[in-house]
């Protein structure tokens, strides 16, 4: 009986000790947990603690435009952004976030330093992608990416940073813009991507991943 009492006491003490740990919480439904804490305890699992993700399944967020991040998190939370990367991973995690947490999360990742990415594409593909980025494809009515995302691809407000983004993620998102209505907030990109060929998309993605971003 003594052993049982000790065990029960230890369990209760353990429970009590574990009830409140807001500085290191992974609770996505607790409004008192800061965005900074959620970024490190939750978001880092896929995006890395500094917003530089290892897996190309997950976008780099380091140095991303704050306004863009707020808009995306609101889009996930409101389920208006419904591409697979959004609903499979982000809808659930974002649905209880407060506006304050969203702002803090965006500020955290915007303040991180982007890492240089590995150059993976062939040089001729990267060169072709550079041409699309800087000059567009006038014959097809495709404007240069740089006109909205900036000459260094760092983005501006709700135009996201695309320099140093994973090529695979860029290919998938350009395909989403082109073929679906799953990102209704980006109607401009639907028009831009409409005439891109698969080769164009692959080339510009290779260039953007390789693009010096520091």
């Amino acid at each position: 009986m003594k052993t049982q009492r000790v065990t029960v006491m230890a369990a209760l003490i353990g429970l009590a000790a574990g009830c409140a740990n807001e500085q290191r919480s992974r609770d996505t439904a607790n409004p008192n947990v800061s965005g900074e804490t959620l970024a490190l305890q939750v978001c880092s699992n896929c995006h890395g603690p500094t917003g530089n993700s290892k897996s190309p399944n997950f976008p780099n967020l380091a140095g991303q435009q704050e306004a863009y991040l707020v808009a995306q998190l609101q889009g996930f939370k409101g389920r208006s952004r419904s591409d697979p990367a959004g609903y499979e991973y982000m809808w659930g995690l974002s649905h209880n976030l407060t506006d304050k947490q969203i702002t803090e999360l965006a500020a955290h990742f915007a303040a991180q330093k982007p890492e240089r990415q590995q150059v993976e594409g062939k040089s001729e593909h990267i060169e072709a992608g550079k041409g699309i980025f800087t000059s567009g494809i006038p014959d097809k009515g495709i404007p240069p990416c740089a006109s909205c995302h900036g000459p260094e691809g760092r983005g501006n407000a709700t135009f996201p940073r695309i320099a140093g983004q994973h090529a695979d993620y860029l290919v998938k998102q350009l395909t989403v813009f082109q073929r679906t209505n799953e990102r209704p907030a980006a109607t401009l990109m639907k028009t831009v991507a409409h005439n891109l060929t698969r080769e164009n998309i692959a080339n510009v993605a290779d260039y953007l991943q390789a693009m010096p971003n520091l």
Binding site: R26, C46, K54, S55, N57, Y89
Partner: protein, 472 residues
């Protein structure tokens, strides 16, 4: 080799029937539902976030972190889920048997095999649990041949975890109270996880893949243990702890298990685990080692004699590679376990005679058994998958293994078993998987031919296994 097409031809009709049932089931299954398995509800994420290619229970790097941080990520939600497995097993040759109905119960029959209820998820910011109780629909059989179901504790893992992380370091540490050595592990090449499709109890399933040699720990489950672990910078994982008989306050960890079926341990038995992991791009790799030393009483109903224990020393190495980039999932696992087994004194050096009355060598005082297994799988779009596995068990010949009975016999006194399992599976919705496994033996109980002394060959045990596995 002629037997394979014959066997496949025989079961085509049955499979068509089962596919029809499955199609009906899929049609009726809600594809958009507010009710999801408990971890889905907690994180709001798709199964494939945590399970590689959606093929539960194999974890992605993200799923591993979810578990190591104590199942505490997400919201606190209704913590209950259910799981059920329907299956059909068919043994290649049922004719070489004195009593096919007993040797191959429910052969080529679609049955509801097992069902589980889970209570799992976040309890506090640092405490979470994964508690499984399983109902075996064919747990026992009465003299009139009727089967009876029974429920008992299955996998249980209650843990406290914490994490300190910033841009320069990442420490995860925790303590797990669990009932099965390595159930706390997060890699699918660990002993408790490499075999995962539930094995039905009727004897027609005695040769399916789930019963083939897997690199496991001799002590098995229904124990009570506490392990402590840390994971440093997502590179080094170390876990160590000890296991005892599940009794007193921990008796719930073997609840429902008959006293005679419980594993009774002598004292505290050490378990350890260490892995090195690396992730780059869509690739991740793990290499690790597992071990346990256990003293298991020979008779769980009589633990009065401290000398009546089997002493097991298991040491294994394993590795896992994953390539995860939508829509592709590639997984390769390999594991090797060496088991050293010292039998109690009263079982060693005992005389054994074969069916002709000829004396065989006396029984050994200790045996070694080595199990190697490798498996590769590919899944596309988290829906369509295939895998191929190789298994090879070798070990010391021992007259104690001599068994001159038909079908299950072993006249060589050898533990050697070798073969392959191929599988295709389909996950039409994330809560449901349909799979077909075909297991081929080229050695069974030490021989390719006439292993039981009654003319049964290893290939006669080749088995087809169809399963429908749902979790909700």
């Amino acid at each position: 080799m002629r037997r394979i097409p014959v066997l496949l031809g025989e079961v085509m009709g049955a499979l068509v029937r089962q596919a029809l049932w499955a199609a009906i089931l899929v049609t009726l299954w809600p594809t958009e539902s507010t009710a999801l398995p408990t971890f889905n509800r907690q994180t709001g994420q798709n199964c494939l976030a945590c399970h590689a290619g959606g093929q539960y229970p194999e974890l992605t790097p993200y799923g591993r972190l979810f578990k190591l941080t104590g199942y505490t990520m997400g919201d606190r939600t209704l913590p209950f889920s259910g799981m059920a497995v329907a299956s059909d097993s068919k043994v290649s040759n049922t004719s070489k048997s004195d009593d096919p109905k007993a040797d191959f119960q429910k052969n080529n029959s679609l049955i509801f095999a097992t069902g589980s209820v889970f209570a799992a998820g976040k309890i506090t910011d640092n405490i979470g649990a994964f508690l499984q109780v399983t109902y075996d629909n064919y747990a026992s059989q009465s003299d009139d041949g009727k089967f009876h179901g029974h429920s008992s504790a299955d996998n249980m893992d209650i843990r406290y975890a914490d994490r300190s992380i910033d841009a320069t370091h990442d420490w995860i540490w925790g303590v797990s109270a669990n009932n099965n050595p390595s159930i706390s592990d997060v890699w699918n090449s660990a002993p408790a996880w490499m075999q995962y499709v539930p094995v039905p109890s009727p004897t027609s399933s005695r040769f399916i893949d789930g019963t083939t040699p897997y690199p496991g720990l001799a002590a098995g489950g229904n124990l009570a243990g506490i392990t402590a672990y840390f994971y440093w910078n997502q590179m080094l994982y170390v876990e160590a702890g000890g296991y005892r008989t599940a009794k007193g306050p921990a008796s719930f960890m073997s609840a429902g298990v008959a006293e005679g079926d419980k594993t009774k341990l002598q004292g505290t038995n050490p378990y350890w685990r260490a892995t090195l992991t690396h992730e780059w791009g869509p690739h991740n790799f793990m290499v690790g080692t597992t071990g346990m030393v256990a003293d298991v009483f020979d008779d769980p109903l009589d633990t009065s004699d401290p000398n009546s224990v089997h002493h097991f020393r298991d040491i294994g190495v394993d590795a896992q590679y994953q390539y995860l980039l939508d829509p592709h999932t590639i997984t390769v696992q390999a594991a090797y376990m060496r088991d050293h087994h010292r039998v109690p004194g009263f079982l060693a050096d005992q005389p054994v005679f074969d069916v002709n009355g000829t004396a065989l060598p006396n029984t050994n005082s200790a045996d070694n058994t080595n199990v190697f297994r490798a498996k590769g799988s590919y899944i596309w779009q988290a829906k369509y998958g295939t895998s191929l596995a190789f298994f090879n068990q070798t070990g010391t010949r021992d007259s104690a293994l001599y068994d001159p009975t038909r079908v299950g016999g072993n006249i060589a006194g050898s533990p050697a078993v070798r073969g392959w399992t191929s599988e295709v599976f389909w996950t039409p919705v994330q809560y449901l998987r349909l799979g077909v496994q075909y297991t081929v033996y080229d050695k069974y109980n030490g021989a390719s031919h006439n292993y039981d002394g009654f003319g049964r060959n290893a290939s006669d045990n080749n088995s087809l296994f169809f399963y429908v596995w749902g979790a909700y």
